[in-house]
């Protein structure tokens, strides 16, 4: 299968790519199925499925349109994060969007049987492109940065904008938390909690460095947080009620 890419503004706006895809993206065509028939959204989703499961030219055209749709979503994501990535060249961002759309297309086609129609097909497909683009952009933002996994790496308690009393309270709170981390967590939970919660390392970056995935890391973070909440509550700190 050949992936067709389209020239389109890299600004991440909702501008349509050139060529036939304009039909899909123009306002009056938002309700058009891949074949161009005017149908309801449920029928539109069914038409996407039928075309993607079809044969020959019809399927190839549907795949090309789907790729254009996913590329548009990836560029939309880039546009939302452009300010934070101002140091990255436009060509590189365009490559990131194209790679995200390519991988999202593969994922959508592989998971086509998982689509149950709980949302419009396009909404379901968009999330794959946004995920792929988001992961790539988080990793790009941390490219070359060291991820410190040392549990001793704690944030500085001092905050110049706060009063002496507030700084004292923050220091005491962090000390209490640190004690709970030392007492209650396993070494792996400590590393994950300190990196994700305290040092705000993006979860996809940490997953890549540790050779794991987002779901597994969040499970570890979740378990660590529950342990810490119990430990701190037992130590007498005022906390929101856990249920």
């Amino acid at each position: 299968m050949t992936l067709q890419t389209h020239e389109a503004p890299a600004s991440g706006t909702l501008s349509p790519p050139h060529g036939f895809t304009r039909l899909i993206y123009s306002r009056q065509a938002m309700k058009l199925a891949p074949e161009g028939r005017d149908v309801s959204f449920d029928e539109q989703s069914q038409a996407w499925l039928a075309a993607l499961r079809g044969d020959g030219v019809r399927r190839d055209q549907a795949i090309a349109r789907l790729h254009a749709l996913l590329l548009r979503a990836a560029r939309f994501e880039l546009g939302r994060r452009r300010a934070a990535l101002s140091y990255v060249r436009g060509e590189e961002l365009d490559d990131i969007a194209t790679q995200a759309a390519d991988d999202a297309l593969m994922a959508v086609l592989a998971k086509l049987d998982d689509y149950r129609g709980a949302s419009r097909f396009t909404t379901w497909a968009y999330k794959f492109a946004l995920l792929e683009a988001g992961v790539r952009l988080r990793r790009r933002a941390w490219q070359g940065r060291e991820v410190v996994l040392d549990p001793e790496t704690w944030p500085t308690p001092a905050d110049p904008g706060s009063s002496a009393q507030e700084q004292l309270e923050r220091t005491e709170t962090l000390e209490a938390l640190r004690g709970a981390v030392d007492r209650a967590l396993t070494p792996h939970q400590r590393r994950v909690f300190v990196a994700l919660a305290l040092n705000e390392v993006p979860i996809d970056v940490l997953a890549e460095r540790l050779g794991t995935n987002r779901n597994a890391l969040y499970k570890t973070l979740h378990d660590a947080r529950r342990k810490l909440r119990r430990e701190l509550a037992a130590a007498g700190l005022a906390l929101a009620e856990d249920s």
Binding site: L14, R27, M30, K31, A73, F76, E77, R80, A118, S119, R120, T122, T123, W124, Y126, K127, L130, L131, G134, V135, R138, L168, E169, R170, E172, T173, A176, L177, A197, L198, E200, P202, I203, D204, R214, N215, Y218, K219, L221, H222, R225, L228, R229, L232, A235, G236, L237, A238, L239, A240, E241, D242, S243
Partner: protein, 80 residues
């Protein structure tokens, strides 16, 4: 010190994440498109899909993807 204060510390609460039931990252991804469309329609997404909003409060990456999908679908909804 927080120990003598009965008001939960917001920074500590942020570090400790949400309380109560929350879905996993994989479940969040599975349900995200449905959740966002419910939000766009003005339906009670949290009642229909419990635990997802809680997860978004604890997972910045899933929250970013939610916010992007909501923005994209909302822009299309307005364009119709």
């Amino acid at each position: 010190m927080a120990k003598h204060d009965h008001t939960p510390n917001p920074e500590l609460e942020r570090l400790l994440g949400p309380t109560g039931y929350e879905v996993s990252c994989d479940e969040c991804f599975e349900l995200l498109d449905q959740y966002v469309e419910l939000e766009v329609q003005g339906a009670n997404a949290d009642e229909r899909i419990p635990g997802l909003r809680n997860h978004l409060a604890g997972c910045p990456a899933c929250l970013e993807e939610h916010d992007s999908l909501l923005a994209l679908v909302t822009a299309e909804h307005r364009a119709r």
